[in-house]
Symmetry: C2
Subunit: 206 residues, 2 copies
């Protein structure tokens, strides 16, 4: 196996280290976050740090990078109080990835890609049309992680849309039936196929 210790990692070229550290953490969710500003201009950006926090109350979280550069998603969700989380299907990956390009604030990524905003049920933020899973969230809180100068954003789930055919009788959502993708590092999009769904694990009895 390749081996790297602390000092070898510290002395790596910056981009090389960024690529490696971002990919060794394993596959991550790739999620489009939709927001709008007070003038109704819509923003969409891809994030790869969505995590489950709680099912009762239903809460999700994601990490935002430092506030030292403009972050339209953060400004919008703080001002407006609402945002959407949209899972990415295989046919959307090129546009989803392009949403990470740094456009000026007055330009909507929806206008620079084939992604379309979709307003539903009077929710205060745009969903991404054709996304197989769409989640409407209310901003709840944020936690500053001082070691990385990043913020964990906590959102409460208020609306859930799931494409037909994915939702099983017991509430489990089979993601590969919607061609939902996952991300490898910052820029590699991969399509999973289910290997096996196990029952709840219980200790072996001897």
């Amino acid at each position: 196996m390749h081996f790297f210790d602390q000092s070898q990692i510290a002395s790596m070229e910056r981009i090389y280290r960024m690529q490696m550290i971002n990919s060794i953490s394993g596959y991550k969710s790739a999620t489009l976050v939709g927001t709008q500003n007070s003038e109704g201009l819509c923003n969409v950006a891809v994030f790869n740090s969505l995590i489950h926090l709680s099912s009762q109350p239903p809460l999700l979280g994601f990490m935002l990078r430092p506030k030292t550069v403009p972050r339209h998603t953060y400004a919008n969700l703080k001002a407006n109080g609402y945002f959407t989380l949209n899972q990415i299907a295989a046919h959307q990956i090129a546009d989803a990835h392009h949403s990470s390009a740094k456009y000026p604030e007055h330009i909507s990524e929806f206008d620079q890609t084939d992604l379309q905003p979709e307003f539903k049920q009077e929710f205060q933020a745009p969903y991404v049309a054709q996304s197989p899973i769409q989640i409407g969230c209310r901003y709840v809180n944020e936690y500053h992680v001082q070691e990385s100068d990043t913020y964990l954003i906590v959102g409460a789930i208020e609306q859930v849309y799931i494409k037909e055919g994915l939702l099983l009788d017991d509430g489990w959502v089979q993601l590969d039936q919607g061609d939902v993708v996952t991300v490898n590092g910052l820029e590699g999009y991969a399509l999973p196929k289910l290997l096996e769904r196990f029952p709840y694990a219980r200790p072996k009895t001897s």
Copy 2:
């Protein structure tokens, strides 16, 4: 599409809601966390919330559930100060999932599965043998997320082992070359294949 609003989600049967909320957040990393206690008894448990926090300094994080029930992983990493993160290959999924069974503290999950502990370079926690990516971490800090009563554990990367054939010239690690799996909800293991790796996204010029 299926639609659920806040009150419908709140009134779902508990297990149904847990399955749904855990799977709509998309694919998550499946990682074996290895620890040992002061008597040298090894513990291994699967977590699905590993996130990237920073590449310089190299930091990863994962969520721990409430402290209201015994959490051997947490007790060990706090007492010992070190833990390992091990990516799961397709051939390891049944054992990885079984590591989530609640065994008493004096029983090691390594003895109840075919997973083998591997001590390397005098690191103070066991790696999981045959894992295609093994990461040695030092406990740095924790943040209490009050809304979910969960804890974000922050770890500093001190050692990295990567199986031959996965590490590309620019530092990117191609996970599907190691049959690294991802998890759908709490118990569905899926195997991704790379669709496309994109270059860094830049704004279109008109």
